[in-house]
Each structure stands twice: as C-alpha cells, then as structure tokens.
Subunit: 346 residues, 4 copies
C-alpha cells in the first residue's frame, strides 16, 4: 500500500540488532523524529483547473534525465539485508527509472555497482586518513564512469547510535569492503576527522563532479558554491550523526536561498510520501534521496522490492503533481507550499 | 446530543469497508485531521449586553433564503447508506430549512433529486472526458431548475484513500448513475484531468450560476472572480484528495481576502458544531457545507435523521449567535474571531 | 496538599450527575481546558535579592481591604453540595480573610448571605424578563449592604452543558430561590436575553457599584468604562456558556489594556494555584475569583473546607510573592510575567 | 550508556521518599519539565569540512582551567545518597577533570570538601538570619581556599515540593551540618528572606569572587554586573523553588545579552547531554552545572559513578563539538544554535 508496509515487514523479519542499527538514530533520536515531523508540518497549496492530462514526473539531476526526482541513498551494510544487497538496490532503482548512489561500505566493488546501475548513478565516498585508500576508491569510481562523487561531510567522527548499541549491534568482523581490502571496523577507525574544504580540490582533480552530502546551513552552502561543487545534499545523515540538528526539511529553505541557483540542492531524511517530494521540490530541491525505505524493500523482496517501492513513490508523486496542478517537477514553485499558517485575526 | 453521536452510531452499524470509504481520507489523513483541528484553534470573541431577544439564523446564499447558512454537501454512494439515500438527504435538508447539493454519483436522476428538494438546491458536477455525458448531466440539471451548478475542481485524478483500500472497499459494480447509464467505476475512469478555466465558459452557457468546489488558494480565488463564477467553496474534499493541503478553515481567510466581495465564499471540511459555523461566518464565509455528519444521520434514521442532525446544527448556531452577541449571521464580523493569541509580554 | 485534592474528593463523593453539572463545561469543553492551559503557558519572571522578610498578600478591591486578592465566585446550587452551602461559603471566605460573591441561585436570601459574610461581599445578579423580580432582588441586596452588584452579562441564553446532560443532570424541581419564590427552572426560563447597556443605568440607580461578569474583549471593556461600572470580571463562565471563546487568562491583557486604569479588572477561570494569582496580578488583574475549588472544598468539609482551601491558596500566593521578589500584590508588575518566549536565534 | 541509565538505577534503588525529594520539583513541576523541554527545543547548526582532528573540551571558568565546561552542582543531602557523599562527588568531579561546587548542606566541613576537590571548586552558601553562622561558613570557605563563593539567591523562602511531601519525605533530624553545628531543619528556619543586594558588599569582603546562583532575568543580570560579581548561574533551582518560572535555557539568552561580557554566565537545569552543553555554549554560557545526574551516579557507584558520569558527559561534548565543526568550546558561537525555526513560505 505505501512505504510504511515495507518498514513493518522489515521490523518483523530482520535480525533485531541489525534492524536497530539501520533504523535507529543518534542519541535521543530527536532529529530522527524531527525529520519526519518537518515534512508533515508543510502544507501544500494546490492550484485547480490547470489541465493536467499529461503529467510527467521526469526531470534531470546534474544534467542527466531520471523518470522521477528520486535517488536511492548510499546505504552501508546492504549485503546484510539481502544477498548482493547493494547491487540489487542499484538494479531496482534502475528498473524504477530513478537514480542511485553506490555506498563505500559494500562487499561489491565500485565497478560492480556501476555495472548494476542503469541510469543516474553516483559513488559515495568516505575520506580516510590513509589517502592511498581514498585515492584508490576514487580512482575506481572514476574508472567505472560514475556520474558524480558524493563526499560525506557530516561524519568526521561517528555519531553515537544508542539504540543500536543497546540492541547489541556490532559490525560483523567479516564484512570486508572489497575495494579496500579492509573490514568496516578498520575503515571506521580510518575516517579522517581533519577533512576540510582544502581537500575538495584534490577530490575534484579526479574529474567527477562533486556532491557534498550533509550540508545543513546557509554558511556551508555558500562555501560549497564558492568551491565549485555540483550539488549539495541537505542531510543530517538520517538523524544518525549529531542528534539535535535541524530536520532536513527545515534546513532546506536556507540552503536553497543561500546557493541562489549556483548549484543543485538535494535533500534526504524522512521522505516517505510523494507529497514529501512535492514539498521538497516546492522548497527548491532538485531531487530527494530515500534511505531506510529502500532497505526495508530490499529486506522484503530484494531487487524486486526496491523497484516496487521506488515505483510506488514515483506514482505517488505523479498523483501529487496532478492534484497540485503541476504537469511536471519543473512546474512546482515556492507558491505550492506553506508552513502551517498561523494568521492573526484581527 | 450532538453530531458525534451519529458518527458513533454509523461506525458501529455500517458495513466496515463502506464506513472506511466514507469516513477515510487520502494518504496519512493529515489533512483530514487538520480540518477538525483548525476549527478548534479558532477563538470566538463574544460581545455582551447587545440585547439578543430576537436571534435568527436565517440568511441568503446566492440570493436565496435559507433558515441557516448550511448546506448538505454532495455525497456519493448515499444509496449504499440508506435506501433512496440522496433523495432522503434532499428531503431532510428541506425539512431543516437548509440547502442541499445533489451529487452526480447517485442512482436518482437530477430531476428526482430536485423534486425531493424543498429550498436552496444545487447540482454537483464531475466533468468527464466524454463531453456528451457532461452535457447531458448539465442539461438535466438546468431543466430541473437547480439554483446553481457546483463544479468539483479538486478531482482531476482520484486521491488515494488508503484506509478504504485497506478495509477492502470496492465500488459496487451494479451502482449505476442513472442519469448517465454508467457505473461508478466507468465514470471514475472518464473524469477529465484536462478540465481548465477555459471550460468554464462552456459550463456557464447552460445558464446556471457556477460554483467552484475545491478552491484553497488566493490565486485561484482571484481567477474564479475574474471568470465570473457565483461562489467558491473552500474545500479539500474532506481530506480525500491531496493529503497535506491546508485545512479548509486555514485557507478560508486568504480566499475571502482575495475575492474582496466579488463572489460568495462557502467552506466545508470538519464542520461539526454551531460554533464552527459562527467562526466560518466571522472569517467571511457565506455558508458552510456539511458532509460526513449527514451520512451518519442518514445511516441512523434516513430522512428523519438528516432533518434532525441539520436542525440540531441550526439550533447550536442560534445559541452561538446569541452568546456572541449577534442577532443574525449578518451581524458576525471578523472581530468575532481570533486565532489562539500568542501575545508577548513584556 | 493543594486544591486538586479537594477535586479528587468531590469527584468521588458527590452524586455523579451533580458533579458532572458543576464540573462540566459547554460543548466539547475546549474553553474549559483552555482556561487551565492558559495559566500554565505563562512564565513568571522572579527578581532576586529584593529583601522579602515582610511579605503581605493583603490588598484592596474596590476600596475595601482583603487579606488576599481572592474572592469566592458566585456559584449556584451550593445547597446541593452541602447543607446551607452558600452561607457556609460566605463564612469560610470570611474566615480566610478573602472576599465572596453571593449567588442568585441559592435557598438563602441575600440578607442571610450578607449576614454570613465577614468582609468584602458582593451580590451576583441574573436579570429576568420580569423586571419586578429583578427589582426585588436588587432591592434586597441594597438593603443588605452588599459592597457591589455583580451583573452576569455572558448568559443571555443558557450554554449547552453536554457533560451534565449526558450524566442525566436535572435541576431539582424543589430548589426554590427564596428571594424570588421561584424554582431554578422557572428562573432559567425568565432570564432576559434582551439585557443591554441601556439597562445598566437602571441597575446603577440602586446605589451599589456595578461589576460586570463575563467581559472578554477590549471593545466591551471600553464600553464598561464608558458606562461607569466599577469593575469587570474577565470570565467565560468557567467554560460553561459559549464553548470556543478565549481562556480568561488570554483575554485578560486586552481588557486591562483597554480600560487603562479607569476601572478595576478581575478574572476567573482555571485559577488553582498561588502562581496563577501572581500571574493574574502581573497581567493587571486586581483580584481573582475561584469557583469550582470552593465547591469541592465545600463538599469535602463545608465551611471549614472552604476556609482551609482559600487559606491554602493565600499561603501559596505568599510564597509566590516572596519568590518573585515582591513584598505585596502591589509590587507585582507586567515585568513579572512573560508568555513562554520563542526567541529566534540567530 | 547515557545519564538516563543512572537515573533509572537510582529510581529503583534509592529510598522512595528520598528519591522523591531529590528528583521532585515545586508545585505542579511545570518548570521541572520545561527545563528539559527547552534544551530539546534548541536546534544545533553544524558546520562541515572544518578539520576537527584536534578537538578539545578544555576551557577556563573564572580563569581556572577545566577539562570540560562542567561543574557538579551544589547538592544537599548527598550523605543520604552514599556514605561520604559530598566528598565523593568532589573527588569524582576531580577525576573527570571538571569543577565542583561544595554544598552548605553536608556533614563534611568546607575544609574537608576542599581537600577532596582536585581542580576548580566553589563553595555554595545559604545566608542565614544569624549572620554569625554565615560569617563562620564564609570564613571557613575562605580559609579552605575555594575559588569562589556561590551565593544562592533564589531561596528567600523554601519552595513547596509537593512530590516529596506526598512521598512522606522528612529531612532527617540527625543530619547535622558540621560546619554550623545545626540540623538541616534548624538551618532551613534560619535562612534569611531579607537578603538583598546590599549584603553582597559584606560577602565580597571575604575576598572570594562572588557567583550568584538563581538569576533568571536581564534586570537582575545587569544588577549583578553593576555589583561586581564574578559570574551568575542562570538557574531555577532545578524547578524546586518557584514553579512556573522560565526554563533556564529560555532565560539564558536574555541574561547573556544583558551582561554583555561584563561577567561570566553559567547555567543549570535539565542538562543531560553533551549536545545540551554545546547548545548552552552557543547561547553564551561559559559552563554548565549538572545536578540530579550526579546524585544518581553517586547512588549507583559513589565516587566512581560520579567520575564515570561526568566523563561520559565530557565525551559526549567532545563528539558534539567535532560534529558541530568546533575544535574547542571557544569555537562555539551563537550561529551554532537556533530555536526550532518556523519560516513562513511564501
């Protein structure tokens, strides 16, 4: 029926510590809850009598066409959710006609994941203290002709995900990230807290457009534009890094305003409905990333589940566009959304 | 005691899928809940020592007198709720002295429903791709001397009503809309998503005043005034079309402000109390439409139930007017309502 | 321990329909709940190092000294709560050193209630269509040397108290208001909905200062000042008349602002704590009236209960004043209260 | 896992009346709840790509270095929680590298508590009517070379802590404050409600910097600066004095703004997380005090518990700083926090 059904399935069928790790957030999960609540606080403003007999959800992201402004988010540990998980997600997203971001944390190599993709596909990168490893990963991504490199910038240290810890979650010691030859634990210890704007130049030198994932403020959005990145993803890492930061839907307007069209803005965190995507477009996002629902669909039915879930979301968006009086994502404007109004009369 | 009693009765006695279909909204039912909450967020400002020994609830809507500024909303499937449902509602509304809007989706013909009406009565129209069917319906309505034609403009495609779907609701295949000779399913597939402002001219040519049902923004309210319609109904289709849009009480002020008296504004969605009607009048509405409560009253006691429920609402309004210090609906002004105030002191 | 204890006792020990009648409000009881919530939304701003070794709660109301700015509200049906109820309340209030308002609806005569009073005492008046009855009541009050006449202005018609009706409450047919020789039902039917500002002149002619009970707007507050009344009571009749009106604490600031010191302003509705009284003083009230808690104390222990409850409230106020850095009610200023602040940073 | 675990332990293992006394607040505990809610209403604004490979939580408070901007609050009755309680807390805080405030109400003398401290340590003072006792206490504190004298200014009279009273709490008659030779009850009766700004001069004459604990308004903050105190602690006594006052996080900005850097501002009340401390720093606090969690840790494991709990908080702060893009407490600015934004679009 809707994405919540996949979550209910996964909650029941996945190993409890694994589910807690994937579903949980940092600290008291304030931001995790806020992510969802922020979309629900937005009010859509529908226009009527527009004539919507030819609605399309298709658009472009960084110049490449997608059937809908949706990407599967880069998710670690997908091989624990389903056999060949990350590749299955790439294939499922391709079947749904939407984009996908290949994760660093996967048994599959960047080349294998690129081969599984069928349309817009980006490679997500954690930067490591050992620049040789980072270099190797980016070189593989460039060789595999990814459309862009997604640099995760909200993870200089790892957030404390208490729900996962309480549930007894431990990263499996035998999960080797093939591209690096290292286990997840080894990689986690290598993540570079010193990563800074200066390093972007080096990363850009590989020739792939850069996308920064984890920007939440106008200040950093402007710096991103100044450094020539292609896009930023407004994200709080699904509430998994610093608890207490703004919901991504709350941070989106200030980022959109700050970049003033100099780069594309995407958003993730709590997107569960076609109307959430419509609201994101109205607030100025080019596209959204969907994370946990993809995992739950993967758990439920592998590649087929991912394709079905993302197709469902695309169809919900089509209905939302028609009822908003928009024939395409490009027709959605800031006037199509309002925060729950609080007029003062008289 | 109050309209909630009818709902409790219907919830218990109606077939569960039918109740889910009639009571449920689209998606997560955010707008359905918001409709009710928005009336409850309004604060009435009563005036005292006015002298209210001669209170009347009577007023006019599009020039025709009603005993109260209330209309029974156009509701499909009433024949499933009670034998001869739609006609019973027309009769019950007439007995209560209030208006009624005959629905397209009924076994009864426009002529039969007009004959059952006893005062202000409008005909609600869905526009179909097959303009012959639409033409036929409007011609029948014009011949039956309805006071106005209510064009539903928030339904270019059908909202996804998940509660109904989960409950196993399916429109009965044998429910034929006599005026068209087609079943509900056949008609649903024929609804014209391409309907636009240009079509209003054609609809106006039948000679009935036009009322647009489903306007939620100042922009469309202005366009309606520009196109010479007689009234707009601020409505989100009872939360059954696009989930996430504003509560009708929230959208009402901007619509009233935008039309600046050029046409009449009505409102529906969540009206359950006389004080809701008083608040609607204060926000500038000419009248309200009442939907689900009419269905529940119809389920409870047919025509008698509808008459009793609408009379109860009229009496609640009379009490509210007296306690507001208003002798009639015309006495209610914007100064009689405030949104819950949030003063800052000091 | 606090006033809530008396309520718990009364809820358990009073006859259920009587408790429902006394405790319940009109309609959905939105205003009844809002009354309490509004006091809780206020934030006190305490000053320190003031030196508060000599705190007093004493003040004056309409020129007469009370040990605390508190009055027992005029409550009908007190004889059903405890034998000799209304007189017991007058005596209890006198023992606590606070004021009391004698109700119209009582078996005791105005003279008997005045005799039971021991300090500030006012007489509450419903105006009846039969001006002879009204005249007789006021004449008795004047003869009994009440300090003021409290005219209830928010009751031109009776609010619909659904909780009481559902509980099966009926006013006992044998409860005769001795001063008039009529039963409560007979009197209810005689209440004059036509009462208006013009009638105040006549009521003033009896020589008692007039107090208007039930003013909620700046507009009526100004009219009251223009008509020379001595005080207004900001009140929504304990949420028992028009459901949906503002909480009394919300309406208080606009009334205080409008009268600009031309008359005294009192407030009732939801006052349960010394800090509520302190907040009322800070918002500009001269004193508060306490209603239901007096009934519950009366039910629990008659005159002793009333004296104890009102003394407890006075002591709570004394503590609140000391902790606010105020040596007396006169020291409490608008700077001692704020609505829950919502600063925007940055 | 986090400080909530200690609370759960203490709730289960401490004597119920003692727990109620320590955990409970005044009146309806509105302020107690607001303290926590206010921190949760703050939104952190993290900066990325700053390079945070060398994060420190160390800072100075009144010129003295601490490993983190945290002090154990002055808590009475610690000897009832664990043998040698107050001294154990001083030692635990020292082991965690943070400050500690020795309480007046302890079996241990100021000298013994100073000896147990290992870094920043202040002495908290209640002022008594008998200036001899006060004089004696301050003299002992000065002799023991405390870094500052913390004058509690929000306790001219004792707040009414109803939860404790309902639970049957009574201060043990044999708890003698050794430094004075008097029991707690005797001391409570001696607290001086007349304490005023004039008395500060006398207290300052002992040569220790003065810190005022319990300031909640800009007015008193300015007066404190005018009187030359070294720091103020924005505090509502953990919600234990005047119920209904602002949450300390809500009052903090106006105090910081008012003192304009003329003195240091600390805050206590509801601090349970590293992100709360980060938010406090962003709002302009120099450091925070932690109260109840120290008691729960003391109950759980004595000195070891206190050291572990405060170390955990310090580590949470280190993570928060890194994820905020701050290398030290000094890097945290007002731009790192926002109140939950409520933008209006369009």
């Amino acid at each position: 029926m809707n994405l919540a059904d996949y979550e209910a399935f996964a909650r029941e069928h996945l190993d409890a510590p694994l589910f807690a790790h994937l579903d949980g957030g940092a600290g008291d999960e304030r931001t995790l809850r806020a992510n969802r609540a922020a979309w629900e606080a937005l009010t859509l403003r529908p226009r009527v009598l527009v004539g919507v007999d030819d609605v399309t959800t298709a658009t472009t992201v960084l110049g490449r066409t997608v059937k809908a402004p949706i990407l599967a988010a880069p998710l670690g540990f997908q091989e624990l959710v389903a056999r060949g998980g990350a590749a299955a997600t790439m294939r499922g997203a391709a079947r749904a006609g939407v984009g996908a971001v290949a994760p660093t944390i996967s048994r599959a190599t960047p080349a294998e994941l690129a081969a599984a993709a069928g349309g817009l596909h980006w490679f997500q990168l954690y930067c490591f203290r050992d620049r040789g490893i980072t270099n190797e990963l980016v070189a593989q991504a460039a060789a595999a002709r990814y459309d862009a490199l997604v640099v995760t910038v909200d993870g200089p240290v790892l957030g404390r995900r208490e729900r996962a810890l309480r549930a007894g979650w431990e990263a499996p010691t035998d999960l080797v990230v093939t591209a690096t030859g290292l286990t997840v634990d080894e990689l986690n210890r290598l993540v570079d807290p010193g990563l800074s704007w200066r390093d972007l130049e080096w990363l850009a030198s590989f020739g792939l457009p850069l996308v920064l994932k984890g920007v939440l403020t106008r200040e950093d959005a402007r710096l991103a534009a100044d450094h020539g990145v292609g896009a930023v993803i407004v994200s709080n890492h699904g509430g998994r890094q610093l608890d207490g930061v703004a919901a991504s839907a709350e941070a989106l307007p200030e980022v959109v305003d700050a970049v003033a069209g100099r780069l594309e803005v995407l958003v993730d965190g709590g997107v569960r409905r076609g109307i959430d995507i419509a609201a994101a477009l109205a607030l100025g996002a080019r596209a959204v990333l969907v994370g946990r629902p993809v995992l739950w669909a993967l758990a439920a039915a592998g590649e087929d589940g991912v394709a079905a879930a993302l197709t469902l979301l695309r169809e919900e968006l089509a209905t939302a566009l028609a009822l908003l009086g928009c024939r395409s994502p490009e027709d959605v404007t800031p006037a199509h959304v309002a925060w729950r109004p609080r007029p003062d009369t008289p």
